[in-house]
Amino acid sequence: METVQADQSSASRLPERSGPAVTLKGSVFTLPILKLSSTDLDLIENELNLRLSTALDFFKNAPVVIDLEQTQDAEQALRFSQLEALLRKLNLVPVGVQNGSAEQNSAAINSGFAILTGQTVDRVVESRRHQIEETPEESNDSEEIRQGAASVFVTETSKFIKQPIRSGQRVYAKGGDLVILGAVNHGAEVMADGNIHIYAPLRGRALAGLDGNSESRIFCHSMEAELVAVAGNYRVFEDKVPADLYKKSVQIYLEGEQLKIITLD
């Protein structure tokens, strides 16, 4: 299973009358991907039969995305309408293709497939690594500290922020990690479905594993937080962070139901 990101489209509103009949919204779905390494339909049918027989009803009427990367240079062109019929026969619902060549894409469109450009999870990781390398060394150039440039890069799953997060501001990295170079000040709130890394003082609130991922962690350079939470288990520092942790580099994680805070050195 790999994640496919649907394109975000904003809700459109019809003229005010009796309310809109249609609302367009973007959403993220996890779809199975069928990677083809051959264009031979008989071979595909045989193998699919074998695999699906062990999967019981799990794939019954499941939407699938067809990955064409390994068939781009195949001698025999893929016949998309026959492929579709084959998949339907096996109770699969082909919705689209990805990583196809230009000819494959146009053939796929003619047979009623959608072209998906979503990144799979390992691709996101790859591009994230790439973009971190591209980010210039921390400069004090004030031009960097601007809301417009706040999200210096945003892949579908991770957020990277250079400027301080100030009182009253909230940042949420949906579906991934949050990396912050500036301070998270008192009264600010940072959240992520994954891990949170703060290479500066954490004075406000940090909530990792917001979607329930108990493996998520919070890392910060100087622990001065008001509240920290991992997967809903939180700790409030009503007076002050304990002296042995205060202003120390720490990591925060869950051990069972217990929130652990330990220094990094």
Binding site: S142, R146, I165
Partner: protein, 269 residues
């Protein structure tokens, strides 16, 4: 083309209007054609501190609503020829201001002046947003206490998110930190936040420190901006602030506690 500077803080009573009056006066004294605008519609104070309250005929709201021309509403300062004041209305509220109306007035003032100083009302609502929206630079006024610093932090976030420069992705607003009512003795005793504490929390460049002093209050009450009092520490601190805004690098004065004599130490103050 004028530079528009907003004087803002979030919290009330920290010295925004005093600062607006003194910075505008200081810039005019240096020969720049300057206008200072009171955005605190309904609670106008700037005219009192500038000593021109009896000369207010038309105000900011009259100009926005087309009831008077800008020329009619601008009041010439009685001491400096190249300083003008645009007073707020006392009888209206902040809803009388519109972004387009404010923008049109600022555009007109930009053509004819070197500096436009916008004295922001307290809070983070419409009035304060109007005052900072078109700004090129901001003086963020803070007292050395926790709630004031927290509110300034909030205001900085708003400057970086809701100003015209932020929304249009232009070069961001240049931020200057001004600490007022600073008392080195009370900092030493741990009653007030130190300059390091404040700059550490806010993370912007310090442009001035005005010491706590009775001369500020006296100046306000008599309608003479304190920067005119060139021999007082407060007046000198504001002169330094103006010089730093204009790009000069000066060392900070009045940061050390006064040395108490032997008898004073023995008997307290």
């Amino acid at each position: 083309m004028a530079t528009i500077i907003v004087v803002t803080s979030g919290k009330g009573g920290v010295g925004k209007t005093t600062t607006s009056a003194s910075v505008a006066t200081g810039l005019a004294k240096k020969g720049y054609k300057t206008v200072v605008i009171d955005f605190d519609v309904g609670l106008r104070n700037l005219d009192l501190i500038m000593g021109c309250e009896r000369r207010v005929v038309y105000d900011f709201v009259n100009v926005i609503q087309g009831e008077a021309s800008l020329k009619q509403a601008l009041i010439k300062d009685k001491r400096l020829a190249n300083l003008e004041i645009l007073p707020a209305s006392q009888t209206r509220d902040k809803d009388a201001l519109t972004l387009d109306g404010v923008g049109a007035i600022l555009d007109e003032l930009r053509q004819s002046h070197d500096f436009v100083i916008c004295d922001s009302p307290a809070g983070i609502e419409a009035g304060a947003v109007m005052a900072m929206y078109y700004a090129d630079e901001a003086i963020v006024v803070t007292n050395p206490e926790v709630s004031s610093v927290r509110d300034s932090d909030r205001m900085l976030g708003i400057l970086q998110a809701k100003s015209k420069r932020a929304l249009e992705g232009l070069e961001p607003i240049k931020e200057h930190l001004l600490i007022t009512r600073y008392d080195p003795n009370r900092v030493q005793d741990g009653e007030m936040l130190s300059i390091d504490d404040i700059t550490d929390l806010l993370g912007i460049k310090l442009a001035g420190v005005v010491p706590e002093s009775t001369t500020v209050l006296q100046a306000s009450n008599s309608g003479i901006p304190v920067i005119h009092d060139e021999s007082s520490p407060s007046g000198m601190a504001y002169q330094d602030l103006v010089a730093r805004i204009l790009g000069e690098e000066l060392s900070f004065r009045f940061l050390d506690p006064e040395k108490k004599g032997f008898l004073k130490r023995l008997f307290g103050t």
